[in-house]
């Protein structure tokens, strides 16, 4: 398949692919921001134990965590318009990208809601009582005491969601979305240098992942500076292996 391997193509492809990086990053950013909103909304019924909604949120979370994202993409891209046609809403003019972002938002929302739930649960009840005892309202106690700690605690999981999302966006090409992987398909086909284009592509994904990983680590160290383990180990050595080998695990396992 394809022509003989030529190194220069790798260098040639990188800038061409980089032109589409912004679309990839846009999908990631938009879906993660939406995913945060979805995640918070979905986490609430379970944190406050609201009967029917709680059940629905469990089903939602286990569906989006338990099925492949590729299938979710297909279901939403092909299924949703049919469903909406039933109530006479026409979405045939909606761009592919919107479906892609919608799917990834629902997908990350499921993981984020689990992270939020775990993190809020990890802030002990005693601190909330102390806040009440000094006269804070429920809202003040949540925003000033619980939320900052919950955000800090869930940051590692959130980082994993973002990075997993970055890589998962590569599947959007199956719907014909023109992001980085989609572009690599066309480049491969027109030049017949498939190996080179995939090498360039993986290099870009890898570098972006490492940069994101590193940024999250900095944020984490800053936000969790009140924790003894982080406060007392400023040594860089310990962080290095993790930096070179980003852990692309997703979800609430480590929370």
């Amino acid at each position: 398949m394809g022509r003989r391997f030529e190194f220069v193509y790798i260098l040639d492809f990188i800038p061409k692919l980089l032109g589409y990086l912004q679309i990839t990053l846009f999908i990631v950013a938009a879906s993660v921001v939406l995913g945060l909103v979805v995640g918070l909304i979905v986490a609430l019924p379970r944190m406050y134990n609201i009967p029917v909604l709680k059940r629905l949120s469990v089903i939602y979370v286990s569906f989006f965590r338990g099925t492949p994202i590729l299938i979710q993409l297909f279901l939403i891209y092909y299924g949703l318009p049919e469903l909406l046609k039933g109530i006479s809403i026409d979405v045939s003019k909606v761009p592919v990208l919107a479906f892609v972002i919608f799917t990834y938002a629902l997908h990350s929302g499921a993981f984020i809601s689990e992270a939020i739930r775990a993190a809020v649960g990890a802030v002990d009840r005693g601190q909330v009582e102390a806040a009440y005892a000094i006269g804070m309202s429920g809202f003040e106690a949540f925003t000033r005491i619980v939320l900052p700690q919950a955000v800090a605690i869930s940051l590692p999981v959130f980082a994993n969601v973002v990075i997993a999302n970055l890589k998962d966006t590569s599947l959007a090409f199956t719907l014909g979305a023109m992001e980085m992987t989609g572009k690599s398909q066309t480049l491969g086909l027109t030049t017949q240098h498939f190996i080179e284009v995939y090498i360039s592509l993986s290099l870009i994904y890898f570098v972006v992942s490492v940069i994101l990983e590193r940024l999250f680590q900095l944020a984490e160290r800053r936000m969790l500076r009140y924790q003894p383990e982080l406060a007392s180990t400023p040594s860089r050595k310990r962080q290095l292996p993790r930096l070179l080998l980003p852990q692309f695990k997703k979800g609430g396992e480590q929370a």
Partner: protein, 250 residues
């Protein structure tokens, strides 16, 4: 003057407080003793509405709250007039010692930051932590954390401070420093209720001792009377057991 009248509290079918009356005069240090499960913690938590009493009245000076129809505003006012020191300190983990003490001053009392900071530093100095202002709780010993907890209560300048077994989560060698701080602020005329198992401390520092069992006040009086010549058999039994178990002295 703090006055509790007929405070009742049940958890499900279990009646934990069966109608408690208690009067605390200005400047009093009231020690509450009693076996585990007798309702001491629950009583303290009813005073600032961390638990909602089922019946009774809580009065702080002229401000009276009927427990059956306490409004949000009533509860807020009660909480502003009281402060609590917890068994497990319950410091805000993401805030430094100074920020822990400032939080209530800035957010609840709405003092300007500069003024709040001054008061917070004063309170921390009083508990001997003037050199730990910017430490996070995770870097402090249990005794130091509890002293931050006391400073946080003290800085709010409440009518009364409620202590729930302030030393029982501490390693024995750290108990002394915390008791010394409580003794010091008791000497300054701050009104307080202390639930404690430290018999020697209660005898020395309290102006009034209350013995609770099974959701009722069994006996109360000045320390020399309650410890020296207890009237009730249940009190005598409890003291006999406690003096054996809790034979610390400071």
């Amino acid at each position: 003057m703090i006055k509790l009248t007929g405070i009742k509290k049940s958890f499900g079918k279990q009646e934990v407080l069966k109608g408690i009356d208690l009067t605390v005069e200005q400047g009093d240090v009231v020690a509450i003793l009693g076996p585990s499960g007798s309702g001491k913690t629950t009583l303290l938590r009813c005073i600032n509405y961390l638990e909602r009493p089922n019946d009774g009245e809580v009065a702080i000076h002229q401000f009276k709250v009927d427990c059956k129809r306490a409004s949000k505003q009533d509860i807020h006012t009660l909480r502003q007039k009281t402060a609590m020191v917890f068994q497990n300190y319950n410091l805000f983990k993401h805030k430094t010692a100074l920020e822990n003490v400032m939080e209530g001053l800035v957010i609840v009392q709405k003092l300007p930051k500069q003024k709040a900071r001054e008061l917070a530093v004063q309170a921390l100095e009083k508990v001997g932590l003037g050199n730990k202002l910017n430490e996070y709780p995770s870097r402090l010993s249990g005794g130091q954390q509890q002293r931050v907890g006391i400073a946080r209560a003290l800085a709010l300048n409440p009518e009364i401070i409620l202590f729930d077994e302030p030393t029982s989560a501490l390693d024995p060698e750290l108990v002394g420093e915390v008791l010394a701080v409580i003794r010091k602020i008791a000497g300054e005329g701050i009104t307080m209720i202390i639930v404690t198992h430290e018999m020697a401390f209660a005898r020395d520092v309290a102006s009034h001792v209350v013995f609770m069992d099974d959701g009722v006040v069994v006996e109360e009086g000045p320390p020399h009377q309650l410890f020296g010549t207890p009237k009730e058999e249940r009190t005598r039994q409890f003291l006999k057991r406690s003096i054996q178990e809790w034979s610390y002295s400071i």
